[in-house]
């Protein structure tokens, strides 16, 4: 039985670090959860729409935790120009995040149609910036569109974007459905897909009447969760030689059963004040988001082990994402994390700083791995 695992430079390719006091609370918890690389979402109030805002935000984050590497993104909006893209790429901003209007936290300024952004995407393709997609279309009951099929109905947009911009790196974020997994697998090596830890655990039953498990996209059917688990555990079903990625113009082939290399961890860790996760009347819905940062690596090990994919842990939390983003693993061994099997680890009930209280996923429950060093 495996009782220790050394993971080479884990990287969380989708995380919400918020603002003000909540930011001070949750930013150091990325490292506490085993990660020294955070790919930071731009949906603040106001959203991070310019290079200058992103740099300012990054310096705030670095002040809070100088030991974590923060990769920054811009919020796709009409303000964004090809010139701004080139400026952003020049100072190391990595991606642009697209939110469909009104679908999740602080997405009121999100996109409605992609065509107006084609000049921006063209510029991104040329400078090597990544397009990160929140892959849902807004609910529209007249067309039977709701939170359950919002992702599946988004997939044609993903395919179209990839068709128009085959060299543009696109990440379908926080996939939750078998349809999304199949779509990404069917597309070329420039299309990647992040998967959260909590979507490997939850199905619709879990957020039915449980606000702390409610997030966007919502967790779907058991068979959808199975598809996420399968693609991590044995993504290359046919076990045949197949092109899976091109890194620095070198084609990479996979021969054996293994997790699919274009699928990787992006936690979408999304803390909210505990009060915002509760409902006291039928008037106020609760905020969408599951907070996993403080336990992310042990949790991911715990979950992968539960479905027989523990041997894919490093690929899923580090190698696959770093390869897609062309970020080589850290050469410093200090960035490795040692996980140890445990029977005693109970997740903290809450994390507190001043007035801010954030309640983590699996609060009060046991997980089977802990960080040893």
């Amino acid at each position: 039985m495996v009782t220790e695992i050394r993971v080479k430079s884990p990287a969380d390719f989708h995380v919400h670090l918020r603002q003000n006091e909540m930011c001070s609370l949750v930013t150091p918890l990325v490292r506490e959860g085993g990660f020294k690389l955070a790919y930071v979402m731009p949906n603040l109030k106001p959203p991070i729409t310019t290079t200058d805002m992103a740099l300012k935000y990054r310096s705030e984050l670095e002040r809070i935790d100088p030991q974590t590497e923060f990769l920054m993104t811009l919020y796709l909006s009409p303000e964004l120009t090809p010139d701004e893209i080139r400026k952003a790429a020049g100072v190391g901003i990595v991606g642009v995040k697209s939110y469909p209007r009104g679908v999740t936290t602080n997405s009121d300024g999100g996109i409605e149609s992609y065509e107006t952004y084609y000049p921006v995407f063209e510029a991104m393709q040329n400078v090597g910036m990544v397009l990160n997609l929140h892959g849902e279309i807004p609910s529209d009951h007249s067309t039977n569109t709701c939170v359950l099929n919002a992702e599946a109905k988004f997939l044609p947009h993903l395919k179209l974007l990839h068709e128009h911009f085959p060299r543009l790196k696109i990440v379908l974020e926080h996939a939750t459905t078998r349809a999304a997994v199949e779509a990404v697998k069917s597309l070329g090596p420039t299309v990647g897909c992040s998967i959260t830890a909590h979507h490997l655990a939850l199905v619709v039953d879990d957020w039915a009447g449980q606000a702390f498990h409610f997030c966007k996209p919502v967790a779907k059917y058991p068979d959808d969760r199975e598809a996420l688990r399968e693609v991590i555990r044995d993504g290359m079903f046919n076990r045949s030689r197949r092109l899976n990625a091109i890194v620095n113009n070198v084609p990479i082939y996979y021969l054996y059963n293994a997790g699919h290399p274009r699928f990787f961890l992006g936690s979408d860790s999304a803390p909210h004040p505990a009060s915002a996760k509760s409902t006291s009347t039928p008037l106020d819905g609760c905020a969408a988001g599951v907070f996993t940062s403080p336990i992310l690596l042990p949790l991911t090990a715990h979950l992968l082990e539960s479905f027989g994919a523990l041997d894919q842990l490093e690929a899923f939390v580090s190698t696959n994402g770093r390869t897609f983003y062309c970020l080589p693993p850290s050469v410093f061994e200090t960035n490795d994390v040692l996980l140890r099997k445990t029977v005693e680890k109970v997740v903290d009930m809450r994390f507190v700083l001043g007035d801010q209280v954030a309640i983590p996923f699996m609060a009060g429950k046991r997980i089977n791995w802990e960080i040893a060093g």
Copy 2:
């Protein structure tokens, strides 16, 4: 424009009146909501499994509100014998409620397989008792069964029961899916179907992160809600002459476009203490149930009007259900209710008695009808 409607003796064919102080709070609210007939569910702690318990419960309810007629049901469980069925029918107990094990509030003692109950169903068929089905199978993630398909997967059981006991009156309670509507329509005149008011309003988006809209069965896709609305508004799509019910051995035919006569209101009004509808940690889920009793008739008028079915109000809230249950409309005009159009009616934020607080559906929101007398 219709500004007043007189509704002949409204009847709520599915309501939870609870126990103790909560019972004292909610029972009078049935009449406040426009109903003097309540078909009472037996899922108390302990469940109402015998005639004597049902009679005792009925006398408690009558003591709380002597002006309301309470029709009683037994909880289907291994204790129930054909002899008990005959005893129950002899004192006017109307139905037997079947809960799949573990699916909803106080259903831990629910059924797992119907075959062991065939002698009981045989006796019910002979004495004319009604079988009320909570039509969901328990979640089983290994077979992709979850709250979203639990009702559709139950329907083969309904069809089989009807096949074995074609003379047994069966009600599929609180239907939420197009599949359920189609199944009931396809079956014989002894199979009816109740529909709640809130399922005419809600879809999955509404209970995603809103505990007060969480109930079992959960509200489904917009197209499922549309099927519920359609069957009330224009259930007989083909407008042809068709046998729809047999009442006292007289076949009844419908010739024109109208709501389907085997579909009727059963509110499934299910109050819980306000505290039980909130979640403060990921450990405690919230109770399933939407509380509609205090506003039921105005709310139903409001909703039917919203989808063009106001002319079906009396059929839906009185005639159809009474016909199915062979309960003629009251001959007393005092049981009629006059509804008046309004623009000022805002639903109370809460109903309180002593320590008990119950928060109604649409608390704080405007509905367009009110009870005038």
